[in-house]
């Protein structure tokens, strides 16, 4: 009897390990669905209709302080990039093209996060249009609730978020600019929360 109990106990432990393994892989799938799908990533960021948070950054070329107030007065496309991010590197040529096409109406601002030296190398290696604001306090991702890069917000002239989402290329940029147009056409004057 004791031998039977011993062996059945060992077998049960083995089955238990198998069940735990199955649960772990299942949770991995849940995580992938919830956190990494395009819909999930679009849930990131400040809610549409809210003001962007108050922030202080550094203009990358002049090193002068840049705040949220500097973005008011004209619509702004605000994109978060990191020097370690391949998609951010791939974005730049189309970002530049869109900047040339739309800069009369919209400010194009890149918010740089991550390592400063790598960012300097990133900027040195390529031509980048628009303004680059550096996150010298390492707060941007937290304050703007951004989890992945490149991620962008389209702001109206008051600094209210009118659209947001992944920003991997021209298609996404045009989509965000379209959301701004829609909000202007519907006369959306909703005042956001700060």
């Amino acid at each position: 009897m004791e031998t039977f109990l011993l062996y059945s106990n060992i077998l049960l432990w083995i089955v238990q390990l198998l069940v735990i393994f199955a649960l772990v892989v299942l949770f991995r799938q849940f995580g992938e669905i919830y956190l990494n799908s395009a819909d999930a990533i679009s849930r990131d960021g400040i809610p549409i209709g809210d003001y962007i948070p108050e922030f202080v950054g550094e203009d990358f070329s002049t090193t002068r302080a840049v705040t949220h107030k500097d973005l008011e007065g004209r619509p702004t496309l605000l994109a978060f990039i990191s020097p370690n991010c391949d998609a951010c590197r791939d974005l730049i040529p189309e970002w530049n093209q869109c900047c040339l096409d739309h800069r009369e109406k919209v400010n194009f601002v890149l918010m740089g996060v991550g390592d400063r030296e790598k960012m300097e190398a990133f900027v040195r290696e390529r031509e980048i249009h628009g303004r680059i604001v550096w996150d010298r306090r390492d707060h941007f991702l937290r304050d703007f609730r951004v989890r992945v890069t490149p991620f962008a917000f389209i702001l109206d002239e008051k600094g209210i978020v009118r659209g947001k989402g992944l920003c991997n290329g021209k298609e996404h940029i045009e989509e965000l600019l379209g959301k701004l147009e829609d909000s202007l056409q519907t006369g959306d004057s909703q005042e956001g929360l700060r």
Partner: protein, 174 residues
């Protein structure tokens, strides 16, 4: 300790029989799969693909008898080292290749899970080998039952992992 060695011997025996049988049923498909690894020249890979199931069966059969268990565990150990080398080469080359571990019975990729599985089997084979020097393996109904149970668990884990890998591919490609 003797019981453990007997169980591990039966585990290896049943697993390699479960692995070899589907391969023999679709030998030509398995030959092509071996060539698809790309780690050996095509003709050599096909010859090896033809011989592999027989080597697995031989090793498994030799494990069942006390006098030949040492030889059987050596054959399986050699096979496992070969598998580890091939799978490592595929992982380094970042290729996606079907493992072919169970022929058409169970789909499996040559990935990290396969490498870990090979590691576990290698540890089992080494244990049986070392034990065989002093105390030959003596299969019994109990050791056969436990060994088969472990094989079933490993196959179940493989099925879970394969399903998971396919699901993750679909999710990432959405």
């Amino acid at each position: 300790m003797q019981m453990l060695a007997d169980i591990l011997a039966m585990f290896l025996c049943t697993l390699f029989i479960a692995s070899a049988a589907p391969k023999l049923l679709h030998l030509s498909a398995f030959r092509e799969l071996t060539a698809a690894y790309g780690v050996l020249p095509g003709p050599l890979a096909r010859v090896l693909g033809s011989l592999l199931p027989f080597a697995e069966l031989s090793g498994a059969a030799l494990l069942c008898h006390p006098k030949t268990a040492l030889c059987g565990s050596l054959i399986l150990l050699l096979l496992l080292f070969g598998f580890a080398w091939a799978v490592s080469a595929v992982l380094r080359a970042k290729k996606t290749v079907r493992c072919g571990c169970y022929g058409k019975f169970l789909d499996a990729r040559a990935d990290r899970f396969t490498l870990i599985k090979i590691g576990i089997l290698t540890a089992a084979a080494i244990t049986v080998l070392i034990r065989s020097f002093s105390h030959p393996v003596r299969p019994s109904p109990e050791s056969f039952f436990f060994g088969s149970f472990l094989t079933a668990c490993l196959l179940a884990a493989q099925a879970v992992w394969t399903h998971h890998a396919k699901a993750m591919d679909r999710l990432k490609n959405r």
